[in-house]
């Protein structure tokens, strides 16, 4: 098993967080959040990977056939569902920020501080 997927997962997580920290645009920020989340998909799938393993569908397959781990795949699916909900919510809030403040720069909202 190669270390490449783990390195990719780490890299994507870091650039996603860098994007969130430096973001000047709420839409960009929401997408950076999705980028960060993508790192968890890669990590999960890399963990479940079995060398030479087929898809985890066992209908009509000989007993003892190697397959990749189905659990992490369902975890990834759950993860995706959850993140889409959050993304939709943040985008909806961003849209209303634009309506109310005529900006989507998080630095310029400035209602709350201290």
């Amino acid at each position: 098993m190669s270390v490449a997927p783990y390195l990719v997962a780490g890299w994507i997580c870091v650039i996603g967080i860098y994007g969130i920290v430096t973001s000047r645009n709420l839409i960009h920020l929401a997408l950076c959040l999705t980028v960060t989340q993508s790192s968890t998909y890669i990590l999960l799938l890399a963990i479940g990977y079995v060398k030479g393993g087929g898809p985890p569908i066992f209908k009509g397959v000989k007993l003892g056939t190697t397959a990749v781990d189905p659990v992490v795949q369902s975890l990834t699916l759950t993860d995706i569902v959850v993140s889409v909900t959050v993304l939709a919510l943040i985008l909806a809030l961003a849209l209303n920020v634009h309506k109310e403040a005529d900006t989507i720069n998080p630095d310029e909202i400035g209602e709350l501080s201290g």
Binding site: V21, L29, T36, T85, L89, E111, L112, S113
Partner: protein, 605 residues
């Protein structure tokens, strides 16, 4: 009878689904009825569950996937008295908030009821589950409902900003949790808490487990608003409707702490039990910094809800110390403090809602003396503030006393005065606000206090005495916590069960019940003289702080100039950190994660 176990979570979710389905073509009374009925049922079942989980863990395996041969593959709820107790508190507070909303938010559209009901159900599920990934799913469900509720008033900029800050910070925390779960799954091939702990128990801990520990703890501490992950909380509380704040402060934050304790005692006690000093050191330090910093920030606020939000952060720090001492006594103290704090803080937030409805503002300076005509409201507010200080046998005292005893047993008695100072400082700020608003004491201007944007008062507020009655009921219950005979002993028994990893694993994986329930007495738990003294000391500090806040201008000018020169710049710096900009919050989250992980990487070996 295992079918009863998931009901506290399932019934509100079904209720929320039904309200969504019929929401468009039914009158408001139907939504209210469905929301109150489903949350009330959930509350009753949570109480039953709490009582019935005393002799042994209550288990429920979804789809009948019982463990075979000591290996758990299915997803299961595993309920212990403390978890069920927190579920009961969460659903009870949701019920109170919904009842209050009947009159407070008369025009609330049906999404409000859907979100509140689902929020309550998700909190119950989170408290009851025995599966790590399932915990994450409930975490996110309660998160999404909470973000939407924080930003519920979408026509105002403040709620939008608060909602976004809360959503982004907590979501990054959730991704840390998923990564931690993935790493643990990679190491153990298990997702059930007991199973993970069992698998790790036989092995020497390695770097991967340390990283997983860091990510899980940090992820849950984001929810628990522990410094430096606390920045979102004040923004979210300041803008959410008052009944929503009750749930945020009273239950959601505490669930983050419960998750830290649960993960430690089911999973990480196994590999790191011998190095628990390193874990205790970091968590106690975080708790104390949070308690003191939260209390200080609390004193600097003039927006009542923001002030209470920082008081919640301070109390979350105190509770974290209780958990972090890794001791039965102090864990029981954290549990009883969660109960009394939830009720008292809930009562305070409900009072803020009434203040907003009656006086059309929630700013201490703007409201100077305007509350003179509301003596009952002022009394409830002030007494709830007193209850949070921890005076002997009032409100949160039992929690303080138990944490004190645990700290003495663990030879870290020096945390006690620090916790008393934090409680006194935060309590003093609440008393100062009460005196200024309801008595008109002190000046109308104060450069120390930062004003916040004003909030639109609710348009149609119904029966006002009903609102007061809900707040008063919660106040009475919260004050009584320290006087309930036998509560302290029961909390300790629950904490002992909570900490017993081996018994938990036996019950969950092998279905072997633990033998023998001790007969617990119905008497007040005795407390030590030190606890009484610390309680009185906290009360004295609170009075001094309140007096300082109100009549600072009467001190000699030279003193004030000097104090301003010494304390001014650090305070301004502290304020600047709480910038309201989401990028800064996530940066602090990253830095905090790196520091905590770094310390553990060096010490846990």
């Amino acid at each position: 009878m295992s079918w009863i176990v998931p009901l506290p979570a399932v019934i509100p979710l079904l209720g929320a689904a039904v309200i969504t389905a019929v929401g468009h073509f039914t009158p408001r009374i139907v939504h209210n009825l469905l929301a109150v009925a489903s949350t009330g049922t959930s509350f009753v079942f949570a109480l039953i569950l709490m009582a019935s989980s005393v002799p042994q863990e209550r288990l429920h395996w979804f789809g009948g996937w019982h463990p075979r041969g000591g290996v758990a593959i299915g997803i299961g709820f595993a309920v212990d008295p403390l978890g069920a107790g927190l579920a009961a508190l969460a659903s009870g507070l949701t019920l109170a908030a919904l009842l209050y909303s009947l009159a407070f938010l008369e025009d609330a559209s049906h999404p409000y009821h859907v979100l509140m009901t689902a929020f309550g159900g998700a909190m119950c599920g989170f408290a009851l589950t025995g599966d790590l990934f399932n915990m994450f799913v409930w975490f996110e469900l309660m998160g999404v409902a909470a973000y939407a509720l924080a930003g519920f008033k979408i026509k105002e900029l403040g709620p939008l900003q608060g909602g976004i800050n809360m959503a982004v910070t907590n979501t990054v925390g959730a991704y840390l949790i998923v990564t931690g779960i993935a790493l643990l799954y990679a190491r153990t091939g298990a997702l059930n808490l007991a199973q993970i702990g069992h698998t790790l128990a036989g092995k020497k801990p390695d770097g991967l487990v340390v990283v997983a520990l860091t990510l899980l703890v940090v992820g849950f501490l984001v929810k628990a608003a522990i410094v430096p992950f606390h920045l979102w909380l004040a923004d979210a509380h300041a803008v959410a409707p008052a009944p929503v704040c009750v749930l945020f402060s009273g239950a959601m934050v505490e669930l983050g702490l419960l998750a830290v304790a649960r993960c430690y005692w089911t999973i990480f006690d196994a590999p790191f039990g011998l190095h628990h000093h390193a874990i205790r050191g970091v968590l106690v330090a975080l708790g104390i910094v949070t308690a003191l910093l939260g209390a200080l920030m609390c004193f600097l606020q003039s927006h009542l809800k923001r002030l209470l939000a920082y008081s919640t952060i301070s109390h979350a720090g105190i509770m974290l110390v209780g958990i972090a001492l890794l001791d039965t006594k102090s864990l029981a103290g954290a549990a009883t403090m969660v109960l009394s704090h939830g009720l008292l803080k809930g009562s305070l937030f409900l009072c803020c809602g009434i203040v907003l409805a009656e006086l059309h503002a929630v700013d201490e300076l703007r409201l100077h003396g305007k509350g003179r005509n509301f003596p009952l409201l002022g009394t409830i507010f002030a007494v709830a503030g007193v209850g949070l200080i921890g005076l002997p046998y009032v409100g949160t005292y039992l929690g303080h006393a138990q944490i004190d005893e645990g700290a003495t047993l663990d030879h870290v008695a020096w945390v006690q005065p620090l916790l008393a100072i934090a409680a006194g400082l935060a309590g003093g700020a609440i008393l100062r606000a009460a005196a200024r608003v309801f008595l008109g004491w002190g000046p109308q201007e104060d450069w120390l206090l930062r004003q916040q944007p004003s909030e639109e008062p609710p348009a149609n507020v119904g029966h006002r005495p009903f609102l007061l009655a809900v707040a008063a009921l919660m106040l009475v219950l919260g004050l009584a916590v320290s006087l309930v005979p036998g509560l302290g002993q029961r909390a300790e028994y629950g904490a002992k069960r909570f900490r017993d990893r081996a018994a938990y694993a036996r019950e969950v994986l092998h279905g072997v019940p633990t033998k023998g329930t001790p007969r617990l007495p119905f008497v007040l738990q005795p407390t030590t003289r030190e606890s009484v003294l610390y309680g009185l000391g906290a009360g004295a500090i609170a009075l001094l702080v309140a007096a300082f806040g109100l009549w600072r201008h009467r001190l000699p000018d030279a003193w004030r100039l000097l104090a301003g020169r010494v304390a001014g710049p650090p305070l301004e710096g502290l304020r600047a950190v709480h910038s309201g900009v989401i990028g800064d919050y996530v940066m602090w989250l990253t830095v905090g994660t790196a520091v905590i992980g770094g310390v553990w990487a060096l010490t846990l070996r």
